[in-house]
């Protein structure tokens, strides 16, 4: 019981505030680190002398393809990490090591196939994503190097999540911080000093991940670790492949969906506003991503606490952890709102010094984020339903903001308001999804009260 007994009990008794801090802070650090990585790249690329605005537009064109690549990475990684933690918990080290070896083989195969296919059809793909004659060279330069290093990226992320699963979260985080900081140091050297431009940013990214990957490989080659690469050929095990992909399919589909939505956004912006509008979205996306990742971190922290106490039928504690998380998230999204409305120019200037691009991005940021303040609440509510096993409601809420309402709006509103219509779409989708989250949450809490007053718990309708 030693492995499993301690943690769950404390989830039911310890103070909610303390618990949330313990669980949320590490995941906030982990999730913001990855968004900082992208942000730093964008900042340096945006300031490339002369080419900055077009380079950042070219970079924004590659977002969907980058999303798809990381989606493929999670396809194997998430499921494999779950499997490994199961087998390590059982002290079944030989099977855990077999999974580890298969992560290596599978990620290599998927990575190589994705790279080869994308490189063969790179120009048509980027055109389809909204590249123009001006932005295409930048997008192509950046993506070619990223795709060549794609296997390294896949392996780095895949093995990094296995480090966490194998009880080395500090080492995993240390490596993440290493890649972020070394990338920030190498970016200016490669981009400006060596004059490699947007290519330099890509080279720095791949290089930092390669170093971190080598370190991870050395760790997993060490026979002293419970989890290490087994001897011999890394033959694919069909069962491991199937199981890990079954678990990873969910995150994969979600990432793939966001890839498609980003594509729609870029196409509409390109149509109504041209290359610079896409570049403006690239900047706004980076800014918003940071806030979204903080809320995601909070959500990860809430999950075990809410899930456990719901299972233990401690509704008061469930409500408590939700209220606290939602409040924190509201602070985050309100800060995002205030920055967007009060000093948008200051934030946008971090990414570009070009006057035209800056005014476009400021305009976009103001409109897009005018309803963002309550979104923190909506995101936490969506995740809350997931913690309670009400997966359909949770998926519906999450998709309502990012897909169901957003995509039609993206195609209707610009008919009336042109480019501004694209930005308004985000705000309208925010309002609708927040309102729905509030209604669904009110219904749920009403049921909680009924149960506490003695009603049958089956009215919750979730199988837990």
């Amino acid at each position: 019981m030693a492995a499993a007994g301690g943690a769950p009990l404390e989830l039911g008794t310890k103070k909610i505030g303390t618990l949330l801090k313990e669980y949320a802070v590490p995941s906030i650090i982990a999730s913001t680190a990855s968004s900082l990585y992208n942000m730093v790249d964008s900042i340096f690329i945006g300031h490339i002398p002369g080419d900055g605005p077009m380079a950042i537009s070219g970079l924004a064109i590659t977002f969907p393809l980058m999303n798809l690549s990381s989606a493929l990475g999670t396809l194997v990684g998430v499921g494999a990490a779950t499997m490994i933690s199961v087998y390590l918990g059982q002290k079944n080290y030989s099977t855990a090591s077999k999974v580890l070896a298969n992560v290596l083989s599978l990620n290599t195969i998927i990575g190589v196939i994705f790279s080869v296919l994308s490189l063969c059809f790179l120009d048509p793909i980027l055109r389809f994503f909204g590249a123009s004659d001006v932005t295409l060279p930048f997008a192509r330069d950046y993506m070619t190097i990223i795709l060549i290093g794609n296997v390294i990226t896949h392996l780095y992320f895949g093995l990094n999540s296995l480090l966490r699963a194998s009880g080395k979260p500090k080492l995993a985080m240390g490596l993440t911080i290493f890649t972020v900081t070394s990338n920030a140091i190498l970016d200016p050297i490669f981009i400006y000093v060596l004059g490699l431009g947007i290519k330099g940013a890509a080279i720095a990214t791949v290089l930092c991940q390669a170093v971190a990957l080598v370190y991870t490989m050395v760790f997993f080659l060490d026979k002293k670790n419970f989890l290490h690469f087994p001897k011999g050929v890394f033959a694919l095990d069909w069962r491991i492949a199937k199981e890990s992909m079954a678990v990873g399919m969910g995150p994969f589909l979600m990432n793939a969906a966001s890839c498609i939505v980003t594509m729609f956004i870029n196409q509409q912006l390109g149509h109504y506003g041209g290359d610079l509008a896409i570049g403006a979205y690239g900047i706004i996306n980076r800014i918003n991503f940071l806030f979204i990742m903080i809320v995601m971190g909070l959500n990860h922290g809430m999950q075990p606490i809410a899930g456990y106490n719901y299972g233990a039928r401690q509704f008061a504690r469930v409500r408590q952890v939700f209220t606290l998380t939602a409040r924190c998230a509201l602070v985050v999204s309100t800060v995002s709102f205030l920055i967007s409305e009060l000093c948008p120019s200051a934030v946008v200037s971090i990414f570009t010094s070009d006057e035209e691009l800056r005014s476009l991005a400021v305009h976009g940021l103001r409109i897009m984020n005018c309803m963002v303040a309550p979104v923190g609440f909506a995101m936490v509510t969506g995740n809350f339903f997931q913690c309670l096993g009400m997966v359909k409601k949770s998926i519906f809420l999450s998709l309502s903001r990012q897909l169901i309402f957003l995509v039609p709006l993206l195609y209707i509103l610009p008919l009336f308001f042109e480019q501004t219509g694209v930005w308004i779409s985000f705000a309208v989708a925010d309002v609708i999804s927040t309102a729905m989250a509030a209604v669904m949450l009110a219904q749920l809490f009403k049921k909680f009260r009924l149960i506490e007053a003695g009603a049958d718990p089956s009215i919750l309708g979730s199988q837990l």
């Binding site: 995941s27 779950t82 933690s85 990873g248 995150p251 979600m254 997931q386 949770s394």
Partner: protein, 192 residues
């Protein structure tokens, strides 16, 4: 349905040792402070396509051992209970991959099967359904068991090499099979 539970109960009666099946879940639930319902979920079912993962939100929480409540966490708690019971004295466990969980302990592992016709007939009587529904129920239960067993143990459910004895309970009947297993266990030095 194949008579495993019935045979186990018979052996338990003869040897006067406890049989753990559904009760095991209750005990685990109470000990870890969870509600009973939560454990029903991990009762040899495992969701293959876990939609809860769809947001990628579990990336950090689910992959770290002991941080949250998910299916594999529940399995770990269940294993702890199985091992503790086994360490404290003789016991019979039905299902739940107990042969794998206790793979380093002295125990007799038996796989009880019976022909489809027998299983269908028994299910019809027990559940009060027609033969077609019974066949479907049996197929689903087998699929769930195989899924559960194969995922957590990384072995193959029902593979003879995992067990000391594989027996068709329809030949000797429940009582006869129970006596035969006890006899086998005694001769092998694994019982008593």
């Amino acid at each position: 349905m194949a008579g495993g539970k019935a045979v186990a109960t018979a052996i338990g009666n003869i040897l006067e040792i406890p049989v753990y099946d559904y009760e095991l879940l209750s005990q685990a639930a109470v000990e870890s402070g969870l509600s009973h319902e939560l454990f029903k979920r991990s009762d040899e079912t495992r969701r293959v396509l876990n939609l809860g993962n769809i947001f990628g939100a579990n990336r950090y929480s689910q992959s770290s051992i002991g941080s949250g409540i998910n299916d594999s966490e529940l399995f770990n708690i269940q294993c702890g209970v199985i091992r503790r019971i086994a360490e404290s004295g003789s016991a019979i466990f039905v299902g739940r991959a107990a042969d794998y969980v206790l793979r380093d302990m002295r125990c007799l592992n038996v796989f009880v099967s019976s022909p489809d016709e027998t299983r269908i007939k028994r299910t019809c009587e027990q559940e009060g359904v027609d033969a077609e529904t019974a066949a479907k129920l049996i197929a689903r239960a087998d699929r769930q068991r195989a899924n559960f067993y194969n995922y957590y143990s990384f072995r193959n459910w029902g593979e003879a090499a995992n067990y000391h004895l594989c027996v068709n309970s329809s030949l000797l009947g429940v009582e006869g099979t129970a006596r035969m297993i006890i006899d086998f266990g005694k001769q092998a030095g694994l019982i008593g």
